[in-house]
Symmetry: C2
Subunit: 154 residues, 2 copies
């Protein structure tokens, strides 16, 4: 298997995983600190999806640290297949969560103008949280493409 | 390059493209026939995204018909790279559009219960249209994976 930027067991792979954890955790933190988020299914789903992302990326970051310390090669077809499935599932869920929350926030901000009417909605916090979720998705999409490429080029 | 179910220039590839066109067109048709859709950004974005999907899938279906008629092989790295980029962009846009519209519809149906209050909203039509968009996404995701696999296994 070739080695690519972001492949498992490398420093770039570890940085990518840490970035995913960081942005997913930031997204959860900002959303939880906003008022009234729990009334909306899309925002609760965003928190659940980002929570799953944190767990998955944290697990793989630990595996990367272990592989780097004992200099073990993680480029083995069975492991990479597992990473591909996990990465694709979490990437799809993250994009779905970010987009559904973005749809609801755009509805509040532009279509029904709830944000400018002084209701109990932290629209700017929703927007920051969703931006973090999109960054998380971009990072996990990069990981997924690298994993799929590694698997296909065996 | 290997030949997979759904690869370009094959009957299965053509059927996949026609399925994408059909479900995307159905999604647009049902959404356009619902009342009040134009007041919501997410639903307008769904129509735009499904429109792009129809154009892209129709173009590739025509190319498949041409390749099948003159028995030409479309498994050429430059063409497949082009298909990969187009398929990934349209797949991501379709998923984003379907999820943002689903977020808004769930908000109407469950969170604020606008659907059961007899307002001028065709909630069941929105749901049918979004279901068609998710089927379109599943079909385009299958095409994208096949194309990426073909490209990576050159």
């Amino acid at each position: 298997m070739k080695s690519l930027v972001g492949s498992p067991g490398t420093v770039s792979g570890l940085l990518l995983r840490l970035g995913q954890c960081l942005f997913a955790a930031a997204s959860i933190g900002v959303m939880v600190s906003s008022s009234g988020f729990s009334n909306y299914t899309a925002f609760c789903y965003l928190i659940a999806s980002m929570g799953l992302q944190v767990l998955w990326s944290m697990g793989l970051a630990c595996l990367d640290v272990y592989a780097l310390r004992i200099k073990r090669d993680l480029h083995n077809p069975v492991l990479v297949s597992l990473f591909v499935v996990g990465d694709w599932v979490t990437a799809t869920l993250s994009l779905a969560a970010a987009c559904s929350s973005a749809g609801v926030t755009i509805l509040f901000a532009r279509d029904v103008r709830f944000c400018s009417r002084g209701l109990d909605l932290s629209c700017s916090r929703y927007q920051i949280s969703i931006s973090c979720a999109f960054v998380t998705w971009a990072l996990i999409a990069k990981s997924s493409l690298v994993m799929f490429w590694l698997l296909a080029s065996v």
